[in-house]
């Protein structure tokens, strides 16, 4: 099949549906990221004031007093219980919010009315069948055909690194570790840890509460400070924040607290890598240790690649970690490439 025929009339989408952010890469060149929040106007007065009934991303978060706020994903999958950080916990509401979020991110890819839309969505390897079904149902209203694939696999596929590679995908909810050895990763090739961005936020918040007497701060303020300054390096720029004390803005240096919180994720990640390495063919273990890819939003923590390398040297004898160049779009770009490479007949059969 020639390229022009393959591409003609079809828009391919790669979607990284994340707990914190949802990103899309499209074959028409569009790329978008939106925070995974959905807000529905609480009443008609709020709707009139907001100018619309549904808000997404940071807009929804900024207007959280006027909307019913949903953070539909937890640990990379649609929430079905009460485990919520910011949003509502009802299952139906989260399903609706997830569907609206997917619809919105697809709309931002600007599909033409006359195009077929084929999407690959990255999902955590350990997502249940019910949750995968929920993600598929949420997407089906907006696309003609959809497939799911493992998130770290998508990252590796996007970079053409399919043989003897360890992928670390640090998301907000989870850290997914995946061993690639030329075939589809099986269950034994993948590990999901709960030491993602939310874990760092919680640890950072604990330390702030213990050390900043009288200061008040919201989860968003903690997250903003983390995203601005996160680093594990000994020499990092001072993390200076302004938190109110008795209503008065007060400046604090939270460098040490942030560094400590960020460093907590390193040992469990390296332990997980160790497990995947140990169960691999001994002849190729060193090669595996020398080909570690660091991806996901959490990979933007400054110095994390070097720190993981150092920890690998201590615990595993050696290690070389390469941070991917586009942490926010690594998963979406890989999913897009899978979508594009997938034979047309496969898409047809899944309609």
């Amino acid at each position: 099949m020639t390229k022009s025929k393959k591409n003609h009339g079809v828009l391919y989408l790669g979607i990284d549906l994340g707990t914190s952010r949802t990103s899309i890469s499209a074959s028409n060149g569009e790329r978008e990221t939106v925070s995974s929040f959905v807000g529905y106007a609480k009443d008609s007065v709020a709707e009139k004031s907001l100018g619309k009934s549904t808000l997404f991303g940071d807009d929804a978060l900024a207007k959280r007093m006027s909307v019913d706020l949903y953070r539909p994903l937890s640990k990379g999958v649609i929430q079905e219980g009460e485990d919520t950080v910011h949003g509502n916990g009802d299952k139906e509401g989260n399903l609706r919010a997830a569907a609206d979020l997917i619809k919105e991110i697809i709309a931002r890819a600007k599909p033409r009315a006359d195009e077929l839309v084929y999407a690959v969505i990255g999902a955590p390897a350990e997502a249940s069948i019910h949750n995968k079904e929920a993600i598929l149902n949420a997407a089906r209203g907006s696309v003609d055909s959809v497939m799911l694939c493992s998130e770290p696999f998508a990252v590796a596929y996007g970079l053409d690194m399919l043989d003897d590679v360890l992928v670390i995908d640090i998301g907000a909810g989870t850290v997914d570790l995946c061993r690639m050895h030329g075939t589809m990763p099986e269950e034994s090739d993948q590990l999901t840890l709960t030491y993602g961005g939310d874990f760092v936020d919680a640890a950072f918040r604990e330390r702030l509460e213990a050390t900043l007497e009288g200061a008040s701060f919201s989860p968003k303020m903690v997250k903003d400070a983390k995203e601005r300054y996160a680093s594990v390096a000994d020499s990092m720029e001072p993390a200076i924040v302004n938190f109110p004390v008795n209503g008065k803005p007060t400046t604090f240096d939270v460098t040490d607290q942030l560094r400590e919180a960020c460093r907590l994720i390193i040992p469990p990640i390296v332990e997980g890598l160790g497990k995947l390495v140990a169960s691999f063919d001994p002849e190729f273990q060193d090669r595996l240790k020398d080909r570690v890819l660091l991806a996901g939003g959490g990979s933007q923590i400054k110095g994390l690649d070097t720190a993981i390398e150092a920890c690998m040297h201590d615990m595993l004898g050696r290690g070389t970690v390469q941070r991917i160049e586009e942490p926010m779009y690594g998963g979406a770009n890989g999913a897009l490439k899978i979508a594009h490479d997938m034979p047309a007949e496969y898409w047809e059969q899944l309609k």
Binding site: N28, G29, Y157, T183, P238, N333, D341
Partner: protein, 316 residues
């Protein structure tokens, strides 16, 4: 607080003299404006004594890193201005890098904790075509502001006359890979030329230009420090150059053929969505495995649905 540095009036007078001398004899001259990142916050947190200690250490670092004949002074505020005569552009870059790196190694004790600082440095050089003293001072100040806005811990050099003179003819000299600003201008100019004379595609040109420039900006923000940062920037410049070549080829093709995909097809090669991939057999197996897994899932879901429908009908 002068700490042995020239005051604003003195440093201005001396710098004017150095600039005039540089113009008259054609000798190179660099102005550097050095500021400590977030010094105001550090002052608020740890007091005036700490601020003075930091400035004093920066002063010592400058003195140790420059020659006795170089001029150091406070033009205004807390930034220090250095006028460095008889220094070539590349050596001025090295000096700025050395100062940024040196500042990283400074440590201070305050309230029982160890503080580390970083600096932002703006650099202007006569080789960059600056024609007046005021402009050169302004360029150093603007560059320091830009270095600070980009997160600090870096230096920035303003080269006002370099970018517009970019030549794209085959024999044109290739700029040094580390000169990222020059490379950005080169990318922009190349795209414009690729579409020159095709007025109907001005929007396309702007869109592409915006995307590439935004990417360059984003990648600058992400970059880490030291040698690895330098290597990363070189790799990115090489990658962007490659993307540009493919974009240009695609643009020419689209403009000549007006193919069925229109401008959207430009991105497909650029984003690695071409069909001439390596590992074709291996990828086909992997894609088939993904498809099989999704097909199995679809069947399980359909079976679940039909069995629950059956149960529903029986109960009614």
């Amino acid at each position: 607080m002068s700490q042995g540095l020239f005051n604003p009036r003195e440093i201005h007078h001396l710098m004017v003299a150095e600039f005039d001398r540089s113009v008259r004899f054609g000798t190179p001259l660099a102005f550097l404006q050095i500021g400590v990142d977030r010094l105001g916050y550090l002052h608020d947190l740890y007091g005036e004594e700490s601020r003075q200690e930091i400035l004093s250490a920066i002063n010592d670092l400058l003195r140790a890193s420059t020659r006795a004949s170089d001029l150091l002074g406070y033009p205004d505020g807390d930034r220090i201005l250095a006028a460095v005569p008889h220094i070539e552009g590349e050596h001025a870059d090295l000096l700025a890098e050395r100062l940024v790196s040196g500042a990283r190694g400074l440590t201070f004790e305050a309230d029982g904790r160890t503080l580390r600082i970083t600096v932002s440095i703006g650099l202007a050089h006569t080789a960059d075509g600056t024609t007046s003293f005021d402009k050169m001072v302004q360029h150093a100040r603007d560059a320091a502001d830009l270095a600070s806005v980009k997160g600090g811990d870096r230096f920035h050099r303003v080269r006002p006359d370099v970018a517009p003179k970019v030549e794209l003819s085959p024999g044109a000299p290739v700029p040094a890979p580390s000169d990222t600003q020059f490379q950005d201008a080169l990318l922009a100019e190349s795209l414009k030329q690729a579409l020159s004379g095709e007025g109907g595609h001005a929007l396309l040109a702007q869109e592409l230009l915006g995307k590439i420039m935004a990417e360059v900006e984003t990648r600058f923000e992400d970059s880490s420090s030291g040698d690895s940062r330098h290597e990363m920037l070189e790799r990115r410049v090489a990658k962007l150059g490659d993307m540009l070549s493919r974009t240009e080829a695609q643009l020419r093709s689209v403009l000549s053929s007006q193919g069925p995909e229109g401008v959207a097809s430009v991105y497909q090669d650029v984003q690695g969505l071409d069909s001439s991939e390596s590992n074709v057999g291996q990828k086909k197996d992997l894609l088939t495995a993904i498809f099989d897994a999704n097909l199995r899932m679809k069947k399980i879901i359909e079976e679940d649905k039909s069995s629950s429908n059956t149960q529903g009908n029986q109960s009614t």
